[in-house]
Symmetry: D2
Subunit: 340 residues, 4 copies
């Protein structure tokens, strides 16, 4: 069940609802959005119903939901959400280019990549300080050193920072540096991590698991939302199929399907989907055209020296072509530039 | 091995090459294109080499190819092919809208659907007279009666006809009515059918098998090409994956990958990929943006009464939105309308 | 709808049913089994019902079926079917080893492989004269020459022959040599071929399509059954997944699922599933243990010289180990040897 | 690189190797096995080579490895590993039945299920106190209360306990109750969790990710091994494919493939693979026959009331049939009962 509080509900009124639920042996998760507050309940439905929450002060509605996700569903939340990352919007009115190096390697490479990204029209910087790698013998990222580099580069360029966190232990630390926390494809069903990023008060980018259905992806977002954080951006990054010409198969339909089921913004990662530099531009165009709210793209000043995923990083000419597409196509679909 | 004949090579010169190969125990497949003729050889490579074909009259080059496809490869055929269907081009300079009913049901429904299609900007009519259905108890199409209806509707509307053939026995019959023969996803590896449509002298639309890799798809096209027919259009129509929110998963990347590997045009079927009316428009936009040479779309005057795939057929409002996208987006990518 | 005729129904009685249905504009497919005859109807259900077929002589029951398959379903056919191939049973009481070369290359290789197979306990000989290959430049089989070799080897060894047919045109020819016709994975949804093999009066081995669901596989079997042939053996040969350590992923569960849904025998192809010689023995053991009615295995006297799929063909030591497993395990599951 | 220490190497000798590597800026992971100790190195290969580790006391060999996994590979560890869980072996000489409830619900249900398991021949008890569920609104397990119930039931029945841990924070707590820690399919690539369970000194059961390749699965095991723990049991539990008749597709070949690549034991979970009670027995038989070292099976005294996965839990008749198969089949493959 979900308790919908009115836009003018006082904190004390919300607290009273939570208290009544907990005293009855249930759990209550408060999600404060811009326009209203939602309280998700877990516990015996009959018992919850007997609490007569609908009669309490500040409560507008009590809804029973059977889908595995509620707070992120469009069912009771028709207006699409705009998430702001360091002031930069990701939502229905804009198209956001997020770009940067796959992995933070050193200050020079990161700054250079950020300046390339900014020149191409990016308004958010991506970069990994913690890299989850299939092999424990592959480069695992610089950790906190990398986070500091990202903060310095933000200082220098003005670009807010999106970076991945792979361990619930590190969430507070990463959140102290980053403007948006990314949960990667391998961790989409790491529920402890989802709950931790949901609790820390920073926007979250949730990548789709490489074999997750759209329903499972939205259910993972619900784990974040339950902790009171609705500032979630979904990221389609390709699914695992039999086709081997591409690293993953970009499920372009998932953007439209997720937009139909959820009020959350959806961005596309054309770099990790294809795993090939020559596919980044056509897939980015397709993402814009299908209605994505943004894209997140790997750039690197010297891809041949990259410690991670060099073959998919954009350089000069490709990046200029991408910049042109990002300027020209979104306005045709009613979207403006995403600036803070 | 492939023997490339010069543009001015005489038929007798081509015949001489074939004869020499066959006398040596090999097989030779002649493919006459607009600009040149190609002869694909099968047989012992060493023996073929000893024939000294390069010295024969009319021969420009003899190439040894190791890929499973040769004639359809871009490797020795850099310029992209434009296929003409009843005069209507499908190729790099245009964007072609192919539309019509999934199945031909009766003259009225077919004419009405064709007029809807034409009003939306379609310049080719699709429609199935032979329907390969999973269950033998489902509607299997009207057969020759359906072909006659299509021919009548072509007469009435001026739209050339694309229609499926499912059995090598029927190729001559279908070719006597149709302007383009479609090989469906279930028959992509029906090599007897591929060879039959390759021999009959009409353009071919080859749908990708639902679990075929891009390499296998191009190899299937090679079976058609080997019989002397390079007027082949590839059609991406979604692959089979674990995701069930859509009927199939549109592999949008495959358009770009196939364009990189082959000189053949590639179109997208957004109707069968998603299996949902609400996805046709966004997927069509994505197809245009990724660089497809056209789309093939189901329309039906009364989808709720359709005998086949009603839930994905477009009607009024949706079709107008599609028409607008097909007018506006392709010119941005340098493509003009595809008219005869 | 399905009309079930009594075991003692006369041919004239069956014909009368068919005539009445056809006169009403419907279609009737007669399937004569050992114990009874079934007539499957296609047409308007209400109209069929009005014919009062239940009252006709020889009719035991008229059943309305909603599943995409009827004749092959266990729903009205609880007893499991035993198919006899040149006298050799494939069914619930026995375990049948089918073995031979992937492709017939010449008389010596075929005879040698057949003798290896026989020595290992095989009672049916497999061997391909028509090979559907992804690339048109790969070896496509010897055609009728190969069929003659198979017939000669049958003469020499006494082993009935199972061989693939890939084109509806060739069905009569292949049936004139073979004891069982195989429809391969690429042709599982080639409905014209299914109907042709269903009409020719020889047992059929139907391989599962590489991305076919179990329901689609049974529906394909229904196409064969509709033409009056219930002597169908299903063959699980691996499905296409993301895993690349094996050529396909053997869906061992499919054997048990198919046995639950259909009365037809199910065999397993451990050679094409794994594509690796070292997996044939463990996968054969698993097939026996899961309840398969037989296995079909590639053997070759000189795998390193094989024209097709050499890496999966068994030779001496492996084949002896397989022979031991086939002798020892099936009796524990209540199955005896499958001899004519 | 991997440093192999001799069986008699002193702790001080191992420490010296680690110190030298760390002083050179590299990382060293010590894995102490029964017969020898292995030190895995991460860092610049050239620099490591220059350290001349081969000359140090106690060092037997220094091996450069290119595969993404080393310590779990058979390449330098030909003898198959036997893992002991509370004294009960899982390895090449035995067949181990692990059984119990999917989720611990209360003391009575758990004890009853454990007694059912024991009567059927199980020598290890499974049961979940922490349940990772797709929906945050589904039952998530009893947590520490559940662990205490498991410990009490172990006391009562003598069965060592296998239970899942889903969060690195909980590893110490779970390890204080359990005899073996299970890492579930959703967490196979949760590298922080893998490292935590690798450090705590208890055997680990590592389920395969639902879309993980076998290579990725072994690489995940390597994360555990790197922390000094080679007591790892791999568990094949079905992969995600297009087929929907079963919950997952049991990749039976993976057992044989993993045995070829790694010295670790491999067990099969026939309950979660199929998700259907009627498939547990045939899939268990197949698992035994293919060469698995054990199976892990859901049992529940009242499946219709189960809070989790009731449709796949075994009850009386089915469980007796399973017990019979586990008694009869493994001895034919040279395996004895797995008792402490």
């Amino acid at each position: 069940m979900v308790v919908v509080m009115g836009p003018e509900a006082a904190t004390a009124e919300v607290d009273a609802v939570v208290r009544r639920v907990e005293e009855a042996g249930g759990e209550a998760f408060v999600s404060r959005g811009v326009s209203r507050t939602i309280v998700g309940l877990v516990g015996d439905v009959e018992q919850m119903r007997a609490l007569n929450l609908r009669g309490m002060a500040g409560v507008v509605d009590v809804v029973r939901v059977s889908a595995p996700y509620k707070l992120v569903s469009r069912e009771h939340h028709e207006r699409m959400t705009t998430v702001r990352v360091g002031g930069v919007p990701i939502g229905p009115d804009t198209f956001t280019l997020i770009a940067g190096p796959c992995a933070v390697e050193d200050p020079e490479q990161t700054l250079e990549a950020a300046e390339m990204a900014k020149a191409a029209g990016a308004t958010l910087l991506r970069g990994g300080a913690y890299k989850p790698r299939t092999s424990p013998y592959a480069f695992q990222g610089l950790g906190e050193t990398g986070l500091k580099i990202l903060a310095d580069v933000r200082e220098a360029t003005g670009l807010p920072v999106v970076t991945e966190v792979v361990d619930a232990h590190d969430v507070e630390l990463v959140a102290s540096y980053a403007d948006m926390l990314q949960v990667g494809t391998r961790n989409m069903a790491n529920f402890a991590l989802l709950q931790a990023v949901g609790s820390v008060g920073k926007p979250v980018m949730l990548k789709r698991g490489m074999s997750a259905t759209i329903e499972e992806w939205l259910s993972a977002a619900e784990y974040v939302a339950q902790r009171g954080n609705l500032d979630i951006v979904l990221c389609e990054r390709g699914i695992r199929t039999f086709e081997k010409a591409t690293r993953n198969t970009l499920d372009i339909s998932a953007v439209a399907v997720a937009h139909g089921l959820s009020h959350l913004p959806v961005v596309v990662d054309p770099s990790h989907s294809g795993g090939r530099r020559d596919l980044v531009l056509p897939l980015s165009r397709a993402a814009i055209a299908v209605g994505a709210d943004g894209i997140i793209v790997d750039v690197h000043p010297h891809p041949e020296q990259a410690l991670c995923d060099g073959p998919q990083a954009l350089v000069d000419g490709d990046l200029r072509a991408l910049a042109a597409a990002v300027r020209q196509l979104p306005p045709l679909l009613g979207r403006g530039p995403a600036v803070a």
